[in-house]
């Protein structure tokens, strides 16, 4: 436990007059290792440590944070916030009887099998070197950059409704970047995997296999020509291809933008919002998922939330403030980057469910189109639904056949239109990992899908 129960209770009780007070405490060890061409370039270790105090007066929020977790530091934080708000709340939900915490601790659902200290740091260097060797699939591969992130985050959320939730989140991510060059031409390949596990990640996804993929992709891109420009049918690869729905759909279903009716999908529960082949799920409970945790950052147990079922909108993603504002039940979706940011409703591990359609069926009948196999991130404006995401590896589809490689291009569209244009979903669901940035900062998420055919998207390539 990071703070004593009495100090937590005293800090919360100092938030006098608020309708609700919540203390979030975090102690986070982060280690990173980056190699370049077989040499360790940077090895770093960090300890992030702080607390965030959030007060509600009705639905008005006061937030503050500090690294000083001594009694006087926390007292100052509470005193400043109460003064800043400068008035009394409407209801004191705590009553006068003091706080009676219902303590919950994580059950180890996502606990690592290999603890940090099981291997010396040198072992990590040796394993990353395997990626370097494997990435050099051709003499044109000039730079290979494997990196490893290891996070060990302890969190405590306690509030004036008696919640006391302690969680321990261990996450590990392995990435490899390869650069291929031929004369003045330079191209890149990337491969990355991350999970809520310890160093056993390297047994599930070997550095050599990621290195090889990065190297092969760099070579494919080096030999590729520019992508075409224009509107065309696109088959989106499985796994990280799910980033399209993360942008085009997921962000529009967070109460952060739904409560203020900014999202173009506000007030549409029960309505037909997507193609009937689309079932969309956000699951914070996937064992060892990169975006999983046992409790969210408001101390609520995470859950599996069906957002869209066969095209019909079933649920939004709801945090505490979102629940107050909309009346929808909370879904354990309150997340934040760290103690410096108040939580908002966010995605966890979000994916399009598989159908029974074989992948090859998606390509049949496409006269000319794009097969977007691997992806980079994306972005959306929830208020207009305008979104984009980047393609890292792509191929031309001609007469139903996958043909020559083309270099990545951005795909752009309007979310509500695109999700109506999903023509088919295949049977090969896979997940990919990324970091998602929004109002409450940058957080780990998974996105996923089987192969998906969209009848038309703007492909931002280059005209001949």
């Amino acid at each position: 436990m990071m703070l004593s129960e009495s100090l937590v209770a005293e800090t919360l009780s100092r938030a006098s007059g608020a309708d609700f007070a919540e203390l979030y405490v975090e102690r986070w060890k982060r280690r990173s290792l980056r190699l370049l061409n077989g040499e360790v370039k940077e090895a770093s270790s960090g300890l992030e440590y702080g607390a965030g105090l959030r007060l509600f007066h009705g639905t008005e929020v006061t937030y503050g944070y500090t690294n000083d977790l001594t009694p006087s530091g926390l007292h100052d934080l509470a005193a400043h916030l109460v003064t800043a708000r400068g008035r009394e709340g409407r209801v004191d939900a705590r009553g006068r009887g003091g706080l009676d915490f219902r303590k919950t601790v994580s059950g180890g659902l996502h606990a690592p099998a290999v603890p940090f200290d099981a291997h010396p740091k040198r072992y990590r260097v040796e394993r990353l070197l395997e990626a370097d060797g494997a990435a050099r699939v051709a003499p044109e591969i000039r730079q290979v950059e494997p990196s490893l992130l290891e996070w060990e985050q302890e969190t405590l959320v306690a509030n004036t409704q008696g919640v006391w939730a302690e969680d321990r989140r261990v996450r590990t991510r392995l990435s490899v970047i390869a650069v291929a060059a031929d004369g003045p031409q330079m191209q890149t390949g990337v491969a990355s995997r991350g999970m809520s596990v310890g160093l056993e990640l390297l047994d599930r996804y070997s550095p050599a296999s990621l290195g090889r993929r990065a190297g092969e992709q760099a070579m494919t891109n080096l030999r590729a020509r520019a992508a075409p420009a224009g509107t065309m049918p696109v088959v989106l690869g499985n796994g990280f291809g799910g980033v399209i729905f993360h942008e085009a759909l997921g962000h529009l279903l967070e109460t952060t933008s739904v409560a203020k009716k900014v999202s173009v999908l506000s007030d549409m529960l029960g309505e037909d919002v997507a193609s009937p082949v689309v079932t969309y799920i956000d699951d914070g409970t996937t064992p060892h998922g990169w975006g999983s945790s046992e409790f969210d950052d408001e101390g609520a147990p995470t859950e599996r939330t069906v957002l869209i079922e066969k095209g019909i909108l079933k649920s939004y993603m709801v945090d505490r403030l979102g629940a107050l504002l909309t009346g929808y039940g909370p879904t354990g979706s309150g997340r934040r980057q760290d103690y410096t940011l108040a939580p908002t409703s966010r995605m966890r591990n979000t994916y399009i469910a598989a159908s029974a359609t074989p992948v090859d069926r998606l390509f049949e009948g496409i006269e000319f189109g794009l097969y977007a196999k691997e992806f980079r991130g994306g972005q959306v404006k929830p208020g207009s639904g305008e979104y984009n995401f980047g393609v890292q590896e792509a191929y031309i589809i001609r007469r139903g056949r996958r043909e020559e490689a083309v270099r990545g291009a951005m795909l752009v569209g309007k979310g509500p239109e695109t999700i109506k244009r999903v023509a088919a979903v295949a049977d090969d669901l896979d997940m990919g990992v990324g970091m998602c940035g929004s109002l409450s900062g940058s957080i780990p998420v998974e996105v996923g899908q089987p192969h998906v055919l969209v009848s038309e998207i703007v492909v931002g390539g280059e005209t001949g």
């Binding site: 102690r27 290792l33 370049l36 090895a43 770093s44 270790s45 960090g46 300890l47 992030e48 440590y49 702080g50 008005e60 929020v61 006061t62 937030y63 503050g64 944070y65 690294n67 934080l77 800043a84 708000r85 740091k121 650069v179 060059a181 003045p184 330079m186 191209q187 890149t188 992508a227 420009a229 224009g230 509107t231 203020k260 009716k261 900014v262 410096t340 108040a342 980079r376 991130g377 994306g378 972005q379 404006k381 929830p382 208020g383 207009s384 305008e386 984009n388 995401f389 980047g390 270099r407 990545g408 291009a409 951005m410 752009v412 109002l439 703007v458 492909v459 931002g460 390539g461 005209t463």
Partner: protein, 437 residues
């Protein structure tokens, strides 16, 4: 311990162990008032900070940081840094000799004002946004300020600190006209509250989005492009790593080996100036304590310099430009401060696409290859007049080709602040590929 005590504790420990060490410490005060429908939706007040160390032992470099300033946390940090250093094989690592530069206050009283006045600024800003009847929703309307104290100190004699601050107004809002719906996302930063005018900024923000209402599809084709300062600034910042000496050193920049070559149109002069008095990213010295000075990266189209720090300068055999960057949580890098493209004679768009903004920069630009493909927002120009706004398109190309194809520059410089400050005029480019309908 406070940051000063912690700094001394770690440096003393390093000296006792015979390890060279350099501390970067940071202390930040944040104040944010978020207005919604005329009331204060969220108020954030906080102080935070931490301390990071770079150690060199036997020519090997390691890093660690902590936000907990207890003796045990500082010991943990130091031991981790030394252990991390032992993972390196090389022996060329070093810390630069430093000097005592004292404390410099770049801020003075320029952000002084009562919390009530700052809250009132947020409320007035939000109210003015809503005055435009086409504004249907305001998702976020913030007044925010950050005051930063940065300290650099080392066992090699560096000892310096400075304080700077910036205040910003930012908003996300939705505007609608008929069936056309557009979301605005804007921020305006100043280094002095005297320059803050919430009402005027709100009107500028709504105007920037209102001109995109009623947008039509853009036909796929190759057209002349006119990048407004904000759109060009996003590209320039994303590709500024091409000038990073570290990227050059690591074989990840296409500008490697090209000093003295013409890489851009003769109208292009690119400068990074950390000493600009009103610069939002001004700093008297860099993250290694090297004093700041202006640096011309491209002069009349000729590549004249890379951004360097002590490590990169030594490895490449060129001068140290004083562009070391390291937050306490980070590792040694190089980065621009106030980076700008010098304005030109002025220009008037004739035919093509005015690109008012681009989105998706983190996924749609590749600073290693130089390629970009980005979602664009803008207006179609015909016969020297704005014909109509356009939407649902992407603009793609190669950044170095774009720099060569610049045909004109606007006369006024406008700044954006995204961690680094980036300034640009209106930029005309001969032809770029636009993908749309």
């Amino acid at each position: 311990m406070n940051l000063d005590d912690a700094k001394r504790y770690v440096l003393d420990r390093a000296k006792a162990r015979g390890v060279a060490a350099e501390i970067v410490g940071q202390h930040v005060r944040e104040f944010t008032a978020r207005a919604q429908q005329g009331s204060l939706e969220q108020l954030t007040q906080a102080v935070s900070g931490g301390l990071g160390v770079r150690v060199v032992t036997g020519g090997r470099v390691g890093y660690a940081y902590t936000e907990e300033l207890s003796r045990s946390a500082l010991d943990w940090m130091f031991d981790e840094a030394v252990e991390n250093a032992s993972l390196q094989r090389g022996s060329a690592g070093f810390l630069p000799a430093g000097s005592a530069l004292g404390h410099q206050d770049l801020l003075g009283g320029r952000l002084e004002g009562s919390p009530e006045a700052k809250i009132a600024a947020a409320l007035g800003f939000e109210a003015t946004l809503r005055e435009d009847k086409r504004v249907t929703h305001v998702e976020l309307a913030d007044y925010t300020e950050r005051v930063r104290n940065v300290t650099v100190a080392s066992t090699e004699g560096a000892d310096a600190s400075y304080r700077r601050g910036a205040a910003g107004l930012m908003a996300y809002f939705v505007m609608q006209d008929g069936t056309s719906r557009k979301q605005g996302g804007e921020a305006h930063w100043v280094s002095d509250l005297q320059q803050l005018d919430p009402g005027r900024t709100a009107l500028e923000f709504t105007e920037r989005t209102a001109r995109l209402l009623g947008a039509r599809p853009l036909r796929t084709g190759r057209y002349p492009a006119y990048f407004e300062p904000k759109a060009f600034g996003r590209l320039l910042l994303a590709f500024s790593t091409m000038w990073s000496g570290k990227a050059v050193m690591e074989g990840k920049s296409r500008l490697a080996g090209r000093l003295g070559e013409t890489i851009a149109s003769p109208s292009v002069t690119l400068v990074d100036d950390p000493t600009l008095p009103d610069g939002l990213a001004a700093r008297p010295f860099d993250a290694e304590g090297t004093p700041a000075r202006p640096l011309t990266l491209v002069e009349n189209g000729v590549l004249t310099a890379y951004l360097t720090n002590s490590e990169v300068a030594r490895a490449l055999g060129i001068g140290n430009t004083g562009h070391a960057a390291r937050s306490y949580r980070g590792t040694l890098n190089v980065a621009p401060s106030n980076l700008y493209l010098r304005p030109g004679q002025g220009l008037r768009p004739h035919r093509g696409v005015i690109v008012t903004d681009v989105m998706g920069v983190h996924a749609g630009t590749n600073s290693i290859t130089g390629e970009f493909s980005l979602q664009g927002f803008g207006m179609w120009v015909k016969d020297g007049e704005i014909a109509y706004p356009v939407e649902n398109f992407a603009v793609a190309g190669d950044f170095l080709t774009l720099l060569r194809d610049i045909t004109g520059l606007g006369a006024s410089l406008e700044w954006e602040f995204w961690g680094a400050a980036v300034g640009a005029p209106l930029v005309a480019v001969a032809g770029l590929s636009f993908a749309g309908a």
